[in-house]
């Protein structure tokens, strides 16, 4: 016989402003959620992980900010938009997830490998910069060895870097901390 574990949500864990912020940032109609579970049932990620879209939205509606933002599950959505297409309330579920991810990053919850991707963008202006093997391949194909992008313009790269300085993206993603709770 398994022990029944009762989880109690205390009022102190609930932040009523959380859902307001998500709504205001662009997740229209989120309060009309029926918790019907269509989102979870069509989610290709939920099919193989513990990520449950319905649960995430429910927690957000309850204002369980800390729980939602610190969860690594928040990063298992592949943004395929299938839940959004099929939601009977036409809630912008994927937008809501992106908004919550932005909030998580702002609070320091960011996977180290994601910080690394951000560093690449900061340094090169590309998420996936050109490597030597591909330079050779490009030359062999008769296309410019270095593409006509920020890779071939110091000035253009400086502009992209300046944008990331202006928005504070550079300080947002710096460091090596994991932030996200690892289970």
């Amino acid at each position: 016989m398994g022990e029944i574990i009762r989880e109690t949500i205390s009022a102190g864990d609930m932040d009523p402003t959380f859902i307001e912020k998500i709504e205001k940032a662009g997740a229209d109609r989120i309060r009309t959620c029926l918790s019907c579970g269509t989102c979870s049932s069509v989610c290709p990620s939920g099919r193989r992980t513990a990520f449950r879209t319905r649960e995430l939205i429910r927690k957000a509606l309850l204002g369980l900010r800390e729980d939602v933002l610190s969860s690594p599950d928040l990063w298992l959505c592949a943004t395929c938009l299938t839940c959004l297409e099929r939601c009977p309330r036409q809630i912008k579920i994927t937008d809501a997830i992106i908004i919550m991810r932005n909030m998580a990053v702002k609070e320091g919850f960011m996977l180290p490998q994601h910080r690394k991707s951000a560093q690449k963008l900061l340094q090169t202006g590309h998420a996936v910069p050109l490597d030597d093997a591909n330079r050779d391949m490009r030359r062999e194909l008769g296309i410019p060895e270095i593409p006509p992008t920020v890779h071939s313009s110091e000035e253009a790269l400086a502009q992209v870097k300046e944008i990331m300085r202006l928005t504070g993206f550079d300080t947002l993603v710096e460091g090596e901390g994991t932030g996200a709770k690892q289970e």
Binding site: S45, W75, C80, I98, N102, V105, A133, N134, V150
Partner: protein, 311 residues
């Protein structure tokens, strides 16, 4: 005499830096179709919507908007062959036209680098150009080497057609446009149950959790196998292509299961159908072949078997 249509060619990251064969094939195909592709000098990462959009929306929108202003200055629409780049550029263009608050924030940042988002151009995917501007009938007229007898499974991916009510491209639950374009090649469309599921790479999941992301891909491969198999899987997105292509090598390592699918971008499929030789655009350079030290299955693809002259 009508003027040749011209588009700014947004390259992104994966096409020029990992699959230059797609870039070359696109140039061949668009040239054959009489469409000019203009260099977008100084363009950066789109930046990847599921990754950088997830980190900070204003940074994502501002970098995307900077790319848009390059095209605005030249006065031509943009075209891209990547669903991710399309999502970043199309969505930011759309959102900046609708959301005044975001536009003000973005333009404040852009002003510091001497730019301004004006909202004067459109963003297209190659699929839009092929379907809406050229038309499948005219694409078909350029086919000189129909890939008869080749069984073709399709992976349309997510971000060109979803969300359908916003993008208004195709019915994302029953899409037909990508299929019609691919069928001009003469290859035989093979339906499989999981055609519309995500490749698994998006939303920063490939970076966050490689094994989970590959499990999506594996489901797709198994679904294609259950439908009787395919000689080639075609996609309109290089990030999906990377996931399906190198994913086979990674799946073999992580799951111990071997798949041998040749994967092509729609530009590569059309380049072949238009009579270009695989060597002309470097089809054999796809990463799975260099990693596995193999070649495309020329026979199965109904292409002349080609012995490697040099090692």
């Amino acid at each position: 005499m009508s003027k040749r249509p011209a588009y700014y060619h947004f390259l992104g990251c994966i096409i020029p830096h990992r699959y230059p064969s797609i870039e070359k094939a696109t140039k061949l195909v668009f040239n054959d179709l009489g469409i000019d592709l203009l260099d977008m000098v100084g363009a950066s990462c789109c930046p990847a919507p599921g990754v950088f959009g997830s980190f900070d929306r204003v940074t994502w929108a501002t970098i995307a908007a900077r790319n848009l202003t390059i095209a605005e200055q030249g006065g031509h629409p943009i075209t891209t062959g990547c669903n991710g780049c399309f999502a970043s550029l199309w969505d930011s263009n759309h959102e900046l036209k609708e959301d005044e608050e975001l536009r003000a924030a973005v333009n404040r940042n852009l002003a510091d680098i001497g730019r301004e988002f004006k909202g004067t151009i459109e963003v297209t995917h190659y699929l839009d150009v092929l379907h809406d501007v050229v038309g499948t009938q005219k694409v078909k007229e350029h086919v000189t080497r129909p890939l008869n007898g080749v069984r073709m499974a399709l992976h349309p991916g997510c971000h060109w057609m979803r969300p359908k009510l916003v993008k208004k491209k195709d019915d994302s639950e029953r899409p037909h446009i990508f299929r019609e374009i691919c069928e001009t090649s003469g290859a035989k469309y093979v339906h499989y149950k999981d055609e519309l599921i995500c490749c698994g790479a998006g939303g920063a999941v490939r970076t966050a959790d490689l094994k989970t992301s590959l499990d999506f891909t594996k489901q797709k491969f198994d679904s294609i196998a259950a439908a009787g198999g395919a000689d080639v899987i075609v996609t309109p997105c290089p990030f999906c292509l990377l996931q399906l292509d190198t994913g086979q090598v990674e799946i073999q390592k992580l799951f111990g299961v071997e798949y041998k699918f040749d994967i092509m971008h729609v530009s590569e499929l059309l380049a072949l159908a238009f009579g270009h030789e695989p060597d002309e655009f470097g089809l054999a350079n796809h990463l799975q072949y260099s990693q596995r030290k193999t070649e495309p299955n020329w026979e199965r693809l109904n292409l002349r078997a080609k012995a490697k002259a040099t090692a």
